[in-house]
């Protein structure tokens, strides 16, 4: 089976994010870029499926040089090879990203496309579904279990606590939820071997994407750092007094009940 895994780079989760002086962009240069945590589960699931039925796992990213390290991590984690599609020099929205990735995937013709449920930085939650719709293939999000049937993929999804089971024809696209698996830690030999695996570079020109299609229909008006103000009242007295003060605050100050 030919399996494609979409890998997004995100600032390390503990990064301090600042807003640039222009007031409408976040400062991300200089931050450590890592593989989006949800994509680790997608990669692991892809590798497990390949281990069951053979084939190839290709890791695919869109961006610049900052993606090389996350792609190396994907190769160490079991991907056979990787492709880095170079992003255009202007800002694009998730719509544009999806158009580019779909163009590449249409040529690649994978049997299965996996991605993380969402990216933890911009939480766009739309690129995978858009790609599937552009390609005209079935798709399902928030998958917590996969099962290979004869000629179909059976998946279980988590929908706000409801567990829903569906069968998908190939080719198909799924996004995976945390809990589907526990990603392996690559061994030192795997990490060294990954250094030798190939990462193919592709430009938009080579892909044949029309830049006019990528023009955003959304503009950033402003960006602000959000720090909710908190009362930080540490309650005093014995336990009973603390709890009484708390419940009184619930009703009288916060009007909660």
């Amino acid at each position: 089976m030919k399996i494609a895994v979409l890998i997004k780079g995100v600032p390390d989760t503990a990064s301090v994010i600042e807003v640039a002086d222009d007031g409408y962009s976040a400062v991300t240069s200089g931050l450590k870029i890592v593989m989006n945590p949800f994509d680790e589960f997608a990669l692991e699931e892809a590798v497990r499926i390949r281990e069951k039925c053979g084939g190839e796992v290709k890791a695919i990213s869109l961006g610049g040089d900052e993606l090389m390290e996350p792609l190396r991590v994907a190769l160490a984690g079991g991907a056979d090879n990787a492709t880095l599609i170079r992003k255009p020099p202007f800002d694009i929205t998730e719509r544009g990203i999806s158009i580019i990735l779909a163009k590449y995937l249409k040529k690649l013709e994978p049997d299965l496309i996996l991605a993380g449920l969402q990216a933890i930085d911009l939480v766009g939650v739309q690129v995978p579904a858009r790609i599937a719709e552009i390609l005209g293939i079935p798709h399902a999000s928030s998958v917590i279990k996969t099962e290979l049937l004869d000629d179909k993929l059976r998946i279980s999804r988590d929908l706000e606590g409801e567990r829903r089971v569906c069968d998908l024809d190939y080719p198909a696209l799924i996004t995976v939820q945390k809990g589907i698996n526990t990603p392996r830690y690559p061994t030192v030999p795997e990490v060294l071997k990954a250094r030798k695996k190939q990462i193919t570079d592709i430009t938009l020109e080579e892909l044949g994407v029309d830049e006019k299609q990528l023009q955003p229909g959304l503009v950033v008006e402003s960006m602000t750092v959000f720090n909710p103000s908190r009362k930080r009242k540490i309650l005093e007295g014995d336990l009973d007094a603390q709890v009484r003060t708390l419940v009184t605050a619930f009703t009288e100050e916060e009007h909660l009940f």
Binding site: T13, S15, I17, V19, A26, P37, E94, R95, D121, V123, V125, Q126, A129, R130, A132, E133, P138, H139, A140, S141, S142, R154, D158, L159, E160, E162, R163, R164, C166, D167, L168, D169, K178, G179, P216, G217, L218, V219, V220, E221, M223, T224, F226, P228, R230, K231, R232, K233, I234, L235, L239, D240, V243, L246, V247, A249, F250, E254, L256, F257
Partner: protein, 320 residues
């Protein structure tokens, strides 16, 4: 050109869909546009009273039991043709797992822009939305420059309109359901009466301080007492004490209840990413230097196993 609110299929109208409808109604009023709604499946009749006074002009109803379990892709095909026929300019839905996948599918079919999980919407010659980025550390205001504009609203943010007032007109629709390469097999509804984590007004979460998987009953009792949903930190989930579906944080659910009670949670930055927008945060922790106390409104330094039962008892007494 009218606006459209998308009501999710199912046997009940989700609270989060009514919230998204209220946001859509405010936008439509500001833009002096009519608001339509679309509903799929067989459950609308017993829910009609919830739509009184909602600001909806017409409900396009696809009353077909098969649609109760249709996939987002299958439903997007039907909404696409409705939107193309009626020329809806702004399309609003709820940012549940299903709602997000549905709007993403629809936005691709319409080649339109979509902003998911918005926490504010307003109208300035077009929709302007606010979205939380980077684990909620940054808020971005985005303006649509094209039609149609697609928006999903984060649950528990937008107040619902009171349900009295004019009833919408029902327009019965039919549409063939295409298989689209996906077949529904079965569904298992949640086994508890607890509200969904992302839609709950109150969330009670446990962390490393829970010390194992046998002790969660103590938090469940508190949930039952105050109508809350049960959450957990990543540490508790990764220790195998509670399923991942309860996890709040960067790799779990993002919640914004009126009240968030963190029990035995130290307060890692990744946890804040999941509950930063909560209106009131209460922290119960043995360690007075835990970072959660810097980010709470009310803190009790103490053992959660001693504090929580006293809290449950106090709440029970006040109510009776």
């Amino acid at each position: 050109m009218p606006f459209l609110t998308v009501l999710q299929p199912g046997d009940r109208l989700r609270k989060s869909c009514l919230e998204a409808t209220a946001a859509a109604a405010d936008l439509a009023a500001a833009a002096e546009a009519d608001l339509d709604a679309v509903y799929f499946g067989s459950g609308l009749e017993q829910n009609m009273d919830l739509l009184a006074g909602s600001g909806i002009r017409k409900v396009f109803l696809y009353d077909e039991p098969l649609l109760d379990t249709a996939s987002e892709g299958q439903i997007a095909v039907i909404i696409e043709s409705l939107v193309r026929e009626m020329d809806h300019k702004v399309i609003v839905g709820s940012a549940t797992t299903f709602g997000k996948e549905l709007l993403a599918s629809l936005s691709a079919r319409l080649d339109a822009e979509l902003v998911q999980d918005c926490i504010d919407v307003s109208w300035k010659n077009g929709p302007v939305v606010t979205k939380a980025l980077y684990g909620g550390k940054v808020h971005a205001q985005l303006r649509f420059t094209e039609n149609p504009a697609l928006i999903s609203c984060r649950p528990n943010v937008f107040p619902i309109r009171s349900s009295d007032g004019e009833m919408p007109e029902i327009v019965s629709m039919t549409a063939p359901m295409e298989s689209n390469g996906i077949v529904f097999v079965e569904a298992e509804k949640p086994s508890t009466d607890m509200p969904a984590l992302t839609e709950a007004n109150i969330v009670v979460s446990g962390g490393r301080g829970m010390d194992g998987n046998g002790s969660w009953e103590i938090l469940e009792k508190l949930c039952t007492e105050i109508g809350g949903a049960l959450g957990a930190s990543r540490a508790a989930v990764d220790s195998g004490w509670i399923p991942h579906s309860h996890q709040v944080g960067q790799t779990g659910k993002i919640v914004n209840p009126d009240l968030y009670i963190a029990c035995g949670i130290s307060g890692a930055v990744q946890h804040f990413a999941g509950m930063r927008e909560s209106k009131i945060v209460v922290a119960i922790n043995r360690d007075p230097s835990a970072p959660i106390f810097e980010m709470c409104d009310y803190g009790i330094v103490g053992d959660l196993f001693e504090v929580v039962p006293v809290l449950v008892e106090e709440l029970r007494q006040r109510r009776s």
